[in-house]
Symmetry: C2
Subunit: 341 residues, 2 copies
């Protein structure tokens, strides 16, 4: 399988490779007529530019890497779709790696992607990423990085995040408005900023309504169904049953719901539930789960746009931070007030 090269086109037209190259790259110093001629015969010959040669010459891979903790739940795949959409349009390729919530794997992924000479990275930190040294060095060296969703505020790079504080506040406020007075927050792992932000929203909502709370209402868990189940069992065993649970994400919340249901609690009457990062599962569980939905695709798009901007800005790029908003999808799991009918 022999490929057509610009050399072949040049030979065919009795011109030089320089001219042919110029025709494809919108250079000013070429006669419009010759340019048209070149493009025409290139098409006739079935020419396809060799991206690898271009990459070698321009010392850029036109490839970026994206690292996510997992992509089994729908959120990260949707972000990736957003990222790819923007980057494809701009002639970039995307390499996807998953850290499986493991910091070592994350680091290995970064090195692999560096070996592939990616022009930049889009990363959502694993829940274990406490050591930021490697990132610090990368960023200090000017390497383009955009963090999203799970960021670390000590890192001086661009960030695209969801307004976790605000929507955790709204979610909690919603439960308070339903008459809940003893709400437990199943918070995610420490070390990622969203955990703190959502907790802060949860606490501030209490403050606003002058609702007291104690430390038993804040339970550290992980991000999986099993984590939620375990946490719920602990709560039930403790005998101190809350009237609502606000989970760090949907899997955790749904896991908790399952355990409470199995133990004979009625939802939402005995105990109400609100999740985070709306999912298809939320609409399927019985009763359907109230949850904060995030604009996953948009998060990906914004991250991609910023990354391209940084890559294509030679010097003096200033990190940008974008905060996006979502909505609270209220469903039966949190609706105690059925008066309006």
């Amino acid at each position: 399988m022999k490929y057509i090269t610009i050399k072949d086109i040049a030979k065919q037209l009795n011109t030089s490779v320089s001219t042919v190259s110029r025709a494809f790259n919108d250079k000013a110093d070429i006669n419009p007529e010759t340019k048209a001629l070149v493009l025409k015969t290139a098409k006739a010959l079935g020419y396809r530019p060799n991206p690898i040669a271009k990459k070698l010459m321009q010392q850029r891979s036109f490839t970026i890497g994206i690292i996510v903790p997992e992509f089994i739940n729908a959120f990260f795949p949707e972000v990736i779709i957003g990222v790819q959409e923007i980057l494809f349009e701009n002639g970039y390729q995307v390499l996807i790696a998953q850290s499986s919530e493991c910091f070592e794997t994350e680091l290995k992924n970064i090195k692999t992607l560096e070996d592939s000479m990616v022009d930049g990275l889009i990363v959502s930190l694993s829940s274990e990423s406490n050591n930021t040294d490697y990132y610090q060095n990368l960023i200090a060296s000017g390497f383009p990085i955009v963090l999203f969703n799970r960021v670390n505020n000590q890192l001086n790079c661009s960030k695209v995040v969801f307004n976790d504080y605000k929507w955790a506040f709204f979610a909690t406020e919603h439960l308070i408005n339903q008459g809940c007075k003893n709400i437990v927050h199943l918070k995610g792992r420490d070390g990622v900023s969203l955990t703190n932000e959502r907790l802060r929203g949860f606490l501030d909502a209490h403050q606003k309504y002058q609702l007291s709370y104690n430390k038993n209402q804040i339970v550290a868990t992980g991000f999986t169904l099993a984590d939620g189940q375990k946490a719920a069992q602990n709560i039930i065993d403790s005998g101190n049953i809350p009237d609502a649970i606000f989970g760090a994400n949907d899997p955790v919340t749904i896991g908790a719901m399952q355990v409470f249901k199995k133990n004979g609690f009625s939802i939402p009457n005995d105990i109400a539930f609100v999740g985070f990062t709306d999912s298809q599962m939320a609409t399927i569980i019985e009763p359907p789960l109230t949850s904060v939905s995030q604009p996953a695709r948009e998060i990906g798009e914004e991250a991609a746009k910023i990354l391209i901007e940084q890559i294509e800005t030679k010097k003096g790029f200033q990190p940008k931070s974008i905060t996006l908003n979502g909505q609270l999808n209220i469903r039966a799991s949190s609706l105690k007030i059925t008066s309006l009918k």
Copy 2:
């Protein structure tokens, strides 16, 4: 940011680039001592081979493309994980594209991937892929392609599929054993082989138990929750209520379940359900859905292995077909017999 090249190493050691290159490529014609020396100083200098130059020289991109219909549901992401695992180990990169069940997008993806000079493709056909001309040409030209999951048997290339026939048979048999006599099959779109295979299993199970059936028991749908909901509504409207439903996949089956539940039917007593391609959703819906689980990761791994083999076999590669098996996860949605307790 200046990269170290083999030239720098050669200069440092007063040797030639050829020798340095030999050291990295396990060539026979190099003295083990000089090889060790080269590797040592390379490490000391922080040398990283430039993969792009290698690609240009070897006229191979060490990149493969994978095209999936979607990756919101967990199945395809898991396949992709399997694919990546094998390919990374072997020094390949993976570009991921999704067709969104649209044939035109699929074709566009292929062309984009061809422009990226991928060394091969792993594809699960979109449900609209009826025209196989483009694939025929690619395969005829010797381009390495492995189809999986949704294949087309007219194409003479390697295939990795699930034993849809066998497990559809088992799933149906399970329902028959539960005493169901009027089972409706919500089949997927025509044109992809798995639809025919699953239907065949469904029918043969009837045959084995000499259970008659009519054409109303075979309902054409799509692969989404909404498709299942619509199909269920149609069935209810028709007034002819079956005692079981066997769906083409979990979303369709769950969609149907929701509608039947809403209309007051008791599951599994009034009507039993069995899905396909086990999902997290299946364990969350009430009652939990019996479903056939597929070894998604293994499917990806096998597809990747075959693709590498084809890429690295110069001539005379013969297409391979692999059929994998799974298991029937029996849950409450299909358990009418509660005698054993």
